[in-house]
């Protein structure tokens, strides 16, 4: 069957059109201050089973951003996957992924959210195991099983929702006195943590980089992993004090861990994945402080510039012949001038350099966090994580663009390929302008922030100092001097061992024991084999009596006689 030559462009065009529709609907809804419900009643008497779609400004803006990224990614994969014979499967999976993300975004119902939620998990699994290598198979397994924990949590919270009588949680947000079981917030939190790869479920996010790069740009930077954050934003009314404190602790730890690990990582895509993880930690952090709208704002801006970062990295990887190790990069700014500009734009935006997209959201989160009195430790950790972001971003820039040539080969022909460069340029534009535009759309009234001077300068100070430190250290590449720290962080704090190999090894060993002891041991013995032995013995005994031995006959005759005698007496 011949495939349409312009298939990718057509799909991309379709998605971008949808993006405009979603975006303008969002603008309309937010200016009118309304939202639209679609409800499809499925059944149920005491409990309402229905499929609900909710169009409000939040879901429309998020949908617009997802469609913008996916449109660009589809266009981009036309060239990136050009030599791959299975690209049709790839594009179908990507479309399925976008569809289930849309369902997730649009449904405010825990029952219909499951549809998108499970779909995301399974389709991302299909994308991670797209390449047939062993590595991608194990990466896919850890991805899908970590996500499965979240699926189960959602399933269980569905069951708990029965106690309140309706699965539509957007309704419950309006009531103050609904008695939810204590399990529901915990389960929702756990589900969000698995999807957003918070500690201890972080191992899958870097592992999932085994997927093709366009997938990473779409799935593992801006859509799938933010599903957890989005769920928590929707469920914000339910998170109590305990859950928020727990989330605060976990999110700070995740931010810190991913920042440190990214400094000791050498795989280009994994560094970016870890930076995603630290930004997810940032969003979770702001949720735990109660800054839901800011978390959503950061989610949108982050999605745009992170997709850009991944697409740029994809061009570098494509040009360098699938090499991802940054030790073989270096001095690439001469080969890829345009990509260098765009990637630095994304990197600086990630760091929160003023007036780029990341600045608007990050700065607000930091300043509002300073304004809330959460104790010096939390503030200090937040600033440290802020500077860690700068450290790994600058290290990435230094090692791949600024520093001396590293020894790998790379072809700069990619820069003349429109379908590779086009999406990158478009996304660069959006990540330039998305900050102010989205902030105007999301926050029509200015936020009042009241801070002492040194806290106001704190963020800028930490960012600036760490930038200078990193530049003077030439990208902190002398990691061998760190010994145990570099090994510990290089292995991602043993998290992959904890939730991956170690856990599965234990489970499989226990399964072996169970199989040997029960199914092939005691149960087998007492049901068939043991009965066989006992039955055999009884039979042998019986056979002995059936021998036509004269003595035995007389013995039995005498016995009967004796019995008859007694009876008669």
């Amino acid at each position: 069957m011949t495939v349409d030559k312009y298939l990718y462009q057509k799909i991309s065009f379709f998605l971008v059109n949808l993006m405009f529709i979603a975006g303008f609907t969002g603008v309309f809804l937010s200016s009118e201050g309304t939202s639209i419900f679609f409800e499809w009643f499925l059944g149920g008497s005491s409990v309402n089973f229905s499929m609900i779609f909710l169009l409000d400004s939040m879901s429309c803006f998020f949908l617009a951003v997802v469609l913008c990224i996916s449109g660009n990614v589809v266009w981009y994969s036309k060239s990136y996957m050009a030599l791959d014979p299975n690209a049709n499967r790839f594009i179908l999976l990507v479309l399925g992924f976008v569809a289930s993300m849309a369902i997730l975004i649009l449904s405010p119902n825990i029952l219909s959210i499951l549809l998108g939620w499970d779909g995301l998990g399974l389709i991302s699994y299909g994308l991670v195991i797209y390449y047939p290598s062993k590595k991608s198979s194990s990466a896919g397994m850890i991805t899908v099983l970590s996500n499965r924990v979240g699926d189960v949590c959602i399933l269980l919270s569905i069951a708990w929702f029965v106690s309140v009588g309706d699965f539509n949680f957007s309704i419950w947000a309006f009531y103050n006195n609904v008695e939810f079981s204590n399990w529901v917030p915990l389960l929702v939190l756990l589900a969000a943590m698995t999807k957003s790869a918070q500690i201890p479920f972080s191992a899958w996010l870097p592992a999932a980089m085994a997927a093709p790069t366009p997938v990473s740009a779409l799935v593992h930077s801006s859509t799938l992993v933010t599903a957890g954050v989005y769920l928590l934003i929707r469920f914000s009314f339910i998170l109590g004090e305990t859950c928020s404190a727990l989330l605060l602790f976990i999110s700070i730890m995740t931010m810190f861990m991913s920042g440190v690990v990214a400094i000791f990582e050498y795989d280009l895509k994994k560094i970016i994945a870890l930076s995603t993880l630290s930004q997810l930690g940032m969003m979770m952090f702001s949720i735990s402080l109660g800054l839901y709208e800011l978390a959503f704002f950061h989610l949108l801006t982050h999605a745009l510039f992170k997709a850009l970062l991944f697409l740029c990295a994809g061009i570098l990887i494509h040009g360098a012949g699938n090499t991802q190790d940054i030790r073989s990069f270096g001095g690439l700014s001469l080969n890829f001038p345009l990509v260098t500009v765009c990637m630095n734009l994304a990197n600086l935006s990630l760091c929160g350099v003023p007036f780029l997209a990341g600045f608007y959201s990050k700065d607000l989160i930091v300043e509002l966090a300073c304004q809330y009195s959460w104790g010096i430790f939390v503030l200090l950790m937040m600033f440290i994580c802020l500077s860690l972001t700068v450290l790994y971003s600058v290290r990435l820039t230094y090692l791949s663009f600024v520093g001396p040539y590293g020894g790998g080969t790379s072809i700069s022909v990619c820069e003349s390929d429109y379908s590779l460069v086009g999406p990158v340029v478009i996304l660069s534009f959006t990540s330039l302008v998305s900050g102010p535009i989205l902030s105007w759309l999301n926050f029509p009234a200015p936020v009042l922030i009241f801070l002492p001077v040194f806290l106001k300068w704190g963020a800028l100070f930490f960012v600036g100092v760490s930038l200078l430190v990193m530049l003077s250290l030439q990208g902190l590449t002398y990691s061998y001097k760190w010994g145990a720290v570099s090994k510990f962080s290089g292995l991602m704090w043993f998290l992959p061992w904890l939730t991956g190999q170690g856990f599965s090894m234990k489970t499989l060993k226990n399964a072996d024991h169970l199989l040997k002891i029960y199914d092939q041991g005691w149960l087998e013995f007492y049901s068939s084999k043991g009965l066989e032995v006992v039955g055999g013995k009884v039979n042998t005994l019986n056979l002995k009596f059936q021998h036509s031995s004269l003595k035995l006959h007389f013995l039995i005759f005498l016995l009967w006689l004796f019995l008859c005698f007694i009876y008669i007496l």
Partner: protein, 145 residues
């Protein structure tokens, strides 16, 4: 395919491989190209120092010690070329067997008419070659029965 040792190595080859892995090791830790060159020269220096050793036992222990040292100091992210085992792009191609082409549906085959025409010819030629070399087994079996 250096990762799979399939033959017994001579002494020279052993030392060469050790040198190569030492260079790789140095490359993994070097922050930039210049530092790597410097470290590589140092490694070369160390190897040259022991070049003229003749005591077999000493040479053997030296090689073992160096191997042990390399193992102890190994990098948490060893450098791998993309398409070699452990690399990021290793095992990405699906190697479907040749006979899968025979199972293509006719409309798929029609997209590559020349190739499939030649493939049929090739099959015939191969049959002729086979029968010339090994004899016609099918006929022989038929005769026996």
């Amino acid at each position: 395919m250096a990762y799979l040792q399939t033959e017994i190595l001579g002494h020279t080859q052993k030392v060469c491989r050790l040198y190569k892995s030492a260079l790789k090791h140095v490359f993994e830790y070097a922050p930039n190209r210049a530092a790597y060159r410097y470290a590589a020269v140092c490694v070369r220096q160390k190897f040259e120092e022991n070049r003229h050793l003749t005591d077999a036992l000493k040479v053997q222990t030296l090689i073992e010690d160096t191997k042990e040292e390399l193992f102890q100091k190994q990098h948490s992210h060893p450098f791998r070329y993309a398409t070699s085992p452990g690399g990021s792009a290793y095992g990405r191609e699906l190697k479907s067997p040749d006979w899968v082409l025979d199972l293509w549906s006719p409309d798929e085959k029609a997209q590559y008419p020349e190739y499939f025409a030649r493939r049929e010819e090739m099959k015939k030629e191969y049959t002729v070659y086979w029968e010339k070399k090994f004899g016609n087994k099918a006929e022989e079996l038929h005769h026996h029965h």
